[in-house]
Amino acid sequence: MNDAILAEQLRKTGNLLDLLNDDDWVRNADEEDFVEAGLGLQPYVDLIQGASPEALRRQRWYVRVLSILLPELKQWLESWQLGRSFEAVYMETQRRLYKHLEQLTSEQQDWIKALLAEAAQALPKEQKVIRAQATTWLAQLFTEEDWNVIAQAASQAIAHDIQHLGQQTAKQTVAQQ
């Protein structure tokens, strides 16, 4: 990334991010190790550097599984049209999902293994029959207690927003008088 190339891009399109439409530019990126800036990030870097091989292996497994399940979970929740409570519900369901992934039954582990094996085949989406079961699998994974906690998170988010918006509008009205 030298300034001559960036300046040339600015002259051409006026936007540096257009470089990311250039396949050669994208492929020329070097593999990165540590890129962190900011004194406050030292504990984060220390955590990564001090992590055990077992912890790194576990994180790798989570990333592979979640890169498939989270898009499916998000799409499912979006179809519920939750409005302002969506983010709170999505956050809480993610937390619940992480917890369940720590203690899968053997049957659930078998399904995850099949899901990952299918993902490794790089099939077109319409041929991914295991992934097509993801929403049903997630629905069976969450317990009644999960749904109660998730519903509470939704109602708290809505209550907070209603109070905040109401008070904000009241302040504006007073200021105009």
Binding site: D3, V26, E31, E32, D33, F34, V35, G38, S52
Partner: protein, 180 residues
């Protein structure tokens, strides 16, 4: 606002990700997925929690916080301060200061070979320069690199101003204005 960006996913794919203002849900991924899984115990980190500062910055007009997302996973994050910081040049030009720039643990070669994504750090740096242009700062960007990351900024030709005693001796780097 959301921008589409493209990154390399090894071995040979180019994938389309997004960069947009950070959401509280994404900050939750930093807590749970980037960090907690790596901890040996369930005890929270005693050090200053940088994700907490991101949460506060989301609602502070001095700051802009952006995250790169692919497959619903947060892949990198950048926290910019856009009003108070000045260049180290004698003219003290205003600039975009990078408070934090971080990539997810799995996007680095030392942890994952090959990394999950290639170019997350470079894209965040490019984005900072674009925001500097849009804010009228002519592409000026400053930051303090952590010791293990200095080679990254040198590789991308970011001028090195030496250690800063006010920032624990971290090396300060600063891009100058573009010459068009």
């Amino acid at each position: 606002m959301t921008w589409s960006i493209r990154l390399t996913k090894p071995p040979n794919d180019i994938v389309t990700a997004t960069i947009s203002s950070l959401t509280q849900e994404q900050v939750g991924q930093i807590d749970d997925l980037w960090e907690d899984i790596l901890r040996a115990t369930q005890q929270p980190d005693a050090d200053w929690n940088w994700a907490y500062k991101l949460r506060l910055a989301v609602n502070d007009e001095r700051y802009e916080v952006y995250g790169i997302e692919l497959e619903a996973l947060l892949q990198g994050v950048i926290l910019l301060e856009t009003q108070w910081h000045r260049s180290w040049l004698p003219q003290r030009f205003p600039l975009v200061y990078v408070e934090y720039l971080a990539s997810a643990p799995w996007n680095r070669r030392l942890i994952e070979d090959p990394p999950y994504l290639v170019g997350v750090g470079r894209t965040l740096l490019l984005f900072a320069r674009q925001r500097s242009l849009e804010l009228g700062y002519s592409g000026r960007v400053g930051l303090h690199s952590l010791p293990g990351a200095e080679a990254f900024y040198q590789r991308y030709h970011m001028p090195d101003y030496g250690p800063d005693s006010d920032k624990g001796g971290l090396v300060y780097f600063e891009y100058a204005a573009f010459t068009l």
